[in-house]
């Protein structure tokens, strides 16, 4: 049984934990404000808010309900557009109305949810963050000019409101962003936060679900029947810390938490922008780094970044032991990797960058945001005090059956990164890749593009 609060009432349901929330709210709960337009997390029309218990109260995030398994909201507060519409219009709704930021109306509930999610989770109520929050919400009509105006006006209205996470909900109720009913929810949730039921002994081993943002696109019917185990319930794996010169990231950390982490920002400052090129806010709020790795897509953005950063994986074996595998040795073939049944990746380790490190990520896709790269590549360059190359790592996505670490770069050590080095490195990289022609682009394009992106890695902008 799954128990949670849906808008303002407690729900207990026996529906399979693999039922996606979109179907549950529309079909079982009659809440048809949440719209289905793609069922793949591509459009944002089905967005809902999920408030998960945290040390400072409920932490709300906007997520795509078409990829959100019911079983993963045990003890949480799920909010659909109806949950924001129990009284007068909220500030978000009012601004959308005021700016005529709705035409056919099918995307509008998702826009309302994502902008409310922005209010609930933004570090500051800045216009730029409001636009980031809407990066997964498409409008085909397309009312973006008005939507942008509405978001800008919303930020202006929130000027002076303190985005303190400890009292965020109360502040937003006060500001008219949330209906007062939100204040009653923690009491309703008391007693609901049971740990998930252990899988039945002797039954099929459960499918481990991280964010589910790819699993529920690929195999929704199968997951409806299968026993599931949710990584998000393993709170002990939700951490980011530095230990012994290594940044350790727990398996349950979402991409968005990683992107916004102050610790990550201190050591890898470009990540905050780089990761905006990975999927969209409503997906990053669920997707995890480990999920991106075991997805084993040859073009996974995070994997490409982590390869260049010399990441290694800590894997828990069935017997409870741990073993370490460098990420560069993890992938064995197309969608094949070094993980036995029953083994989990529990931690990702990233060596902290020594002084003189330059990191650069390049991705070219048809649409810049929420699209799969034609080619992506990351570079970690460590410069010696005299400005020559001390160490160089280069990865490439979309150009081989696996996420590729380009090898044989030792010869570049001791060289100046300027001058003809870029050309030589580009040639080396292009020779190391074997792209195929597909819907992301022709093999010729990908090869030529790889060369250009490697040149961009060593541009004056990156080296400065």
């Amino acid at each position: 049984m799954t128990s949670f609060v849906l808008n303002s009432r407690v729900v207990h349901t026996e529906q399979p934990p693999g039922t996606v929330m979109l179907d549950f709210v529309r079909n079982a709960s009659g809440l048809t404000g949440t719209k289905e337009a793609c069922r793949e997390g591509e459009c944002g029309a089905c967005s809902v808010l999920v408030g998960s218990p945290g040390p400072q109260g409920l932490v709300y995030r906007a997520v795509a309900s078409c990829l959100l398994p019911l079983g993963d909201v045990q003890g949480c507060h799920v909010v659909t557009v109806e949950g924001l519409s129990e009284g007068p219009l909220t500030l978000v709704q009012e601004q959308i109305l005021e700016h005529s930021a709705s035409q056919c109306g099918f995307c509008t509930p998702g826009i309302v949810i994502s902008l409310t999610g922005f209010c609930l989770s933004a570090r500051s109520f800045s216009f730029q963050e409001s636009q980031d929050a809407l990066d997964g919400n498409l409008c085909r009509c397309t009312g973006y000019v008005a939507i942008r105006d509405a978001a800008r006006a919303l930020c202006e209205r929130l000027e002076g409101v303190e985005p303190d996470p400890a009292v965020r909900v109360a502040t937003l109720v006060e500001a008219g962003v949330l209906p007062p009913g939100f204040l009653e929810v923690p009491a309703l949730l008391e007693g609901l936060e049971n740990p998930q039921e252990p899988p039945v002994a002797g039954g099929a081993p459960p499918v481990l679900v991280a964010g589910g943002t790819d699993l529920f696109v690929q195999r929704p019917e199968e997951l409806l029947e299968a026993p599931l185990e949710f990584l998000s319930r393993h709170r002990e794996l939700d951490f980011i810390r530095v230990e012994g010169g290594v940044l350790k990231v727990g398996a349950a950390v979402t991409l968005e938490d990683f992107r916004l982490s102050e610790i990550v920002h201190r050591f890898f400052p470009s990540m905050r922008e780089d990761l905006l090129l990975h999927s969209s806010t409503i997906l990053r709020n669920r997707a995890t780094l480990t999920g991106n790795i075991v997805n084993a897509s040859p073009v996974g953005d995070v994997t490409i970044m982590l390869l260049a950063l010399d990441a290694s994986l800590e894997i828990r074996t069935r017997s409870g032991q741990t073993r370490r595998v460098p990420l560069s040795e993890f992938f064995q073939g197309y969608k094949q990797y070094d993980l036995a049944p029953g083994e989990w990746i529990v931690e990702i380790h990233l060596p902290l960058p020594p002084p003189g490190t330059r990191f650069n990520f390049e991705k070219v896709s048809n649409r810049e945001i929420l699209d799969i790269a034609a080619v992506s590549t990351a570079m970690r360059l460590i410069l010696a005090p005299d400005g020559t190359i001390q160490d160089l790592r280069l990865s490439a996505g979309g150009v081989a059956p696996v996420p590729l670490l380009i090898r044989g770069l030792e010869g570049f050590r001791g060289r100046s990164p300027e001058g003809e080095t870029a050309g030589l490195l580009a040639r080396h990289a292009v020779e190391a890749i074997s792209p195929i022609s597909d819907i992301r682009g022709s093999a010729t394009y990908k090869k030529l593009l790889m060369g250009q992106l490697v040149r961009a890695h060593l541009s004056a902008e990156v080296l400065s």
């Binding site: 035409q103 099918f106 409008c139 397309t142 009312g143 799969i372 819907i439 394009y445």
Partner: protein, 747 residues
């Protein structure tokens, strides 16, 4: 006034087809479609499908109670394939099951033994093989051959434009409910109440009076819900046969894979100019890639054909247009309806000519801009276009010469990035080119409490037509808009309605509404005269909900007037009809006046190109467009901006890819439409001031489609930036995806 539905949209309470409470016992239909692009069906194996969990019924063409035909114009499209298939995704069988997922899982278990036949995916190959829909159309005006002889500059080339997926957020769907006396009620997401009503009756084999089609609103249409009736008719057939409610809701990727798109075109053009840059002659062959059935392609082709001269005055012209029959899903209407493609060809030709002549394209465009008094190739004289005023207003706002100089300077001093500019003038004929469709009905009912209910044939799909109609009714009756409610579009209240299409929804239905309200107003004023003891009807009016006598308010308020009139046995219901006057086009001579008026505008688009990566962004779009005296400025601004963004999508990132077997490879995760972050940082829409239009309701002008053409600015501005880097290559085809841009630069 804002769109009246928005208050519900933001709360999620507006109802679309799939949001209607599901009736008890409702079943779900799904389609088993052809796995090959062309072939002869030897046999079907539907055993596994029929035995799949939850399945209630399986139907093939043999089960169709009436006519197995849904061809929109020609009778060439069976509802369910009989013995051959002409495109991958063509419906072969329908399965009905207890749940949506059971139905679609069962549909995936259908099997067909099909003898594959060679398929054609290239329009030129189709043409060479004589595979065309309808007839080739030829329009000649002046003497192009002689004129080309006198031209100082002649350039020619070939070019192509790609398909565009509608990606309406609400996929194709309908809910059918059997009712008494073997009648059926259908709630559908369609733009075509009249035509789909007829298709429903034909397929079910019952008279139209036994079918009621009701349409509340659409989650986007853009033309994609105008002509293909399969997804509305199929569930109705199942409901009719099973005597149970049946719903059909297409999964997104099924919709993308099997529905029509904006037609890809291929163009061969030749243009000739004199030394001063005057266009003397133009000829163009328009090859339309239509797909397996004619659908609405010939009408789309006709519009490309009639708009071949774009926004320009061209004294000598030859246009040849042909619709090529290929083995892909039948393409259909998409916002702009062939005009974007026809305009693309002439814009490319003019740009190409300007380049060869070494003068700015904008200079050639302005010199040849079609204006009032100019005669179009098919003989229509332009009037009330405001084309030059739009151009001049834009120039005054943006300083075209200054912007061009700034971009030239930028490009002189930058190599890693380049900028590009394009001015696009738009000249778009308003009316259905098919004269018969330019008609509309409206039914206006007054109730004794003074509330007003309006029904028309217009379909609300986000374009705000219902709000405009509400305004027209309120304004005509002299009451506040909140007294008026626009009801659903229903074939029992307004029969035989034309599709909401061709940007004419408000023009036609608004005018019919106005006529019906005028009739009611006349009746009420006549009664008020009697009531007030005043005989001179000229002196009586209704303003702000109060009867006025000689301009002065009386004690007689609207509610009392209506109630008293009813008691005095005045008919409070009025139906009216509007047919756009003076429209004609002779198909033999291709001469006539097919359009009521023209919608014009001018825009400037600027792009920034990253020459290293081949990526780009549209930095600014500034549009001036003439919408006449706007019925609702906020709605019209939304229509302009929305159209432009869709046009930018078509011109840049929207790329549909087919496999060598005709399979659509780009589902929702690969077919990318514009997102918020790709919206140009600077985007301004100026509605031309002081514009009057005697040819449409309340002096307004249609706005739905024409602004989409401004989106071509993204292609031409990118081209401008690319040509600043190199000119040793032919013009690339549209869309200019990052891959194409990159390959132009580095390939």
């Amino acid at each position: 006034m804002k769109n009246v539905d928005m208050g519900m949209h933001v709360r999620g309470t507006s109802r679309f087809v799939d949001d209607l409470p599901t009736p008890a016992g409702c079943l779900h239909a799904a389609l088993f479609t052809s796995p090959v692009a062309r072939g002869r069906i030897r046999s079907l194996d539907l055993q596994e499908m029929a035995g799949s969990p939850g399945v209630v019924a399986v139907y093939t063409h043999r089960d169709v109670p009436g006519l197995n035909e849904v061809g929109h114009v020609l009778h060439d499209q069976p509802l369910l394939a009989v013995d051959q298939v002409e495109y991958r995704g063509q419906p072969i069988a329908m399965v009905v099951a207890e749940t949506w997922s059971a139905a679609w899982q069962a549909a995936a278990r259908g099997r067909a033994d099909i003898e594959e036949l060679p398929a054609v995916f290239d329009p030129r190959e189709a043409l060479a093989k004589g595979m065309i829909h309808g007839q080739k159309r030829i329009l000649v005006s002046g003497d192009p051959d002689a004129a080309f002889e006198t031209c100082r500059h002649v350039v020619q080339g070939s070019l192509a434009s790609g398909p565009q997926e509608h990606f309406y957020f609400e996929t194709q769907r309908a809910l059918a409910l059997p009712t008494e006396h073997d009648t059926i009620q259908v709630h559908a997401s369609t733009q075509s109440p009249g035509a789909f009503h007829r298709h429903l009756a034909e397929v079910l084999g019952i008279p139209m009076h036994k079918v009621e089609l009701d349409i509340r609103r659409l989650g986007g249409g853009f033309g994609g819900k105008e002509s293909t009736a399969v997804w509305v008719v199929a569930p109705a057939m199942a409901a009719f046969l099973l005597k149970r409610p049946v719903k059909l809701v297409l999964p997104r990727n099924h919709d993308i894979a099997t529905s029509g798109k904006r037609h890809p075109y291929e163009f061969d053009y030749r243009i000739g100019l004199d030394d001063e840059g005057r266009i003397l002659a133009y000829e163009v062959d328009l090859l339309q890639h239509a797909g397996a059935c004619a659908d609405i392609s010939l009408a789309v082709l006709g519009r490309s054909f009639l708009h071949a001269s774009g926004a320009y005055r061209i004294p000598n012209i030859r246009v040849q247009a042909v619709s090529c029959r290929t083995n892909i899903p039948p393409n259909n209407a998409f916002r702009g309806f062939g005009v974007p493609q026809g305009t693309f060809a002439i814009e490319a030709a003019v740009t190409h000519a300007a380049e060869v002549m070494g003068v700015p394209a904008a200079q050639i465009k302005l010199k040849n801009l079609a204006e009032d008094g100019d005669v179009l190739p098919f003989g229509m004289v332009l009037e009330n276009t405001n084309s030059r005023r739009c151009w001049e207003t834009l120039d005054a706002r943006v300083d075209l010469a200054g912007r061009h100089a700034a971009v030239a300077e930028y490009n002189r001093t930058h190599n890693q990035t380049r900028r590009g500019l394009a001015v696009i003038p738009v000249c778009f004929g308003i009316s259905f080119a098919q004269t018969a469709l330019n008609q509309a009905g409206a039914l206006v009912n007054l109730f004794v409490d003074g509330s007003v209910e309006v029904s028309t044939g217009a379909v609300e799909m986000g374009q705000g037509v219902n709000t405009k109609i509400q305004l027209v009714a309120a304004r005509t009756l002299g009451i506040a808009p909140d007294r008026v409610r626009v009801h659903t579009t229903n074939t029992s209240r307004v029969p035989n309605a034309s599709p909401t299409s061709a940007s004419t929804g408000a023009d036609l239905n608004g005018m019919a509404t106005k006529y019906a309200c005028e009739e009611l107003r006349t009746r009420l004023c006549r009664y008020a005269g009697q009531h007030l003891g005043h005989e001179d009807l000229e002196q009586i009016s209704i303003r702000d909900g109060v009867v006025h006598l000689a301009g002065k308010p009386t004690e007689l308020r609207w509610e009392k007037l209506v109630a008293a009139a009813q008691w005095a046995r005045v008919d409070l219901s009025s139906h009216a009809f509007y047919a756009t006057p003076d429209l004609h086009l002779d198909p033999r001579t291709e001469r006539g006046r097919p359009f009521a008026y023209y919608s014009c505008g001018t825009s400037l688009t600027e792009v920034l190109l990253d020459c290293v990566r081949g990526t780009y962004r549209v930095e600014s779009v500034e549009v001036v467009h003439d919408v006449g005296r706007s019925l609702s400025e906020v709605i019209d601004r939304g229509q302009v901006a929305g159209g432009v963004v869709q046009g930018i999508g078509w011109s840049t990132v929207e790329q549909l890819r087919y496999g060598p077997d005709g399979r659509v490879l780009t589902g929702a995760n690969a077919y990318k439409i514009p997102d918020l972050k790709s919206l140009p940082p600077h985007f301004s829409v100026t509605l031309l001031e002081n514009s009057e239009n005697p040819y449409a309701v309340c002096n307004s002008k249609a706005v739905g489609e024409p602004p989409l053409i401004h989106g071509l600015g993204a292609y031409f501005a990118l081209l401008d930036a690319l040509r600043s880097v190199r000119r040793d290559k032919a013009l690339p085809s549209l869309p200019l995806t990052p891959e194409k841009v990159f390959m132009y630069l580095h390939g």
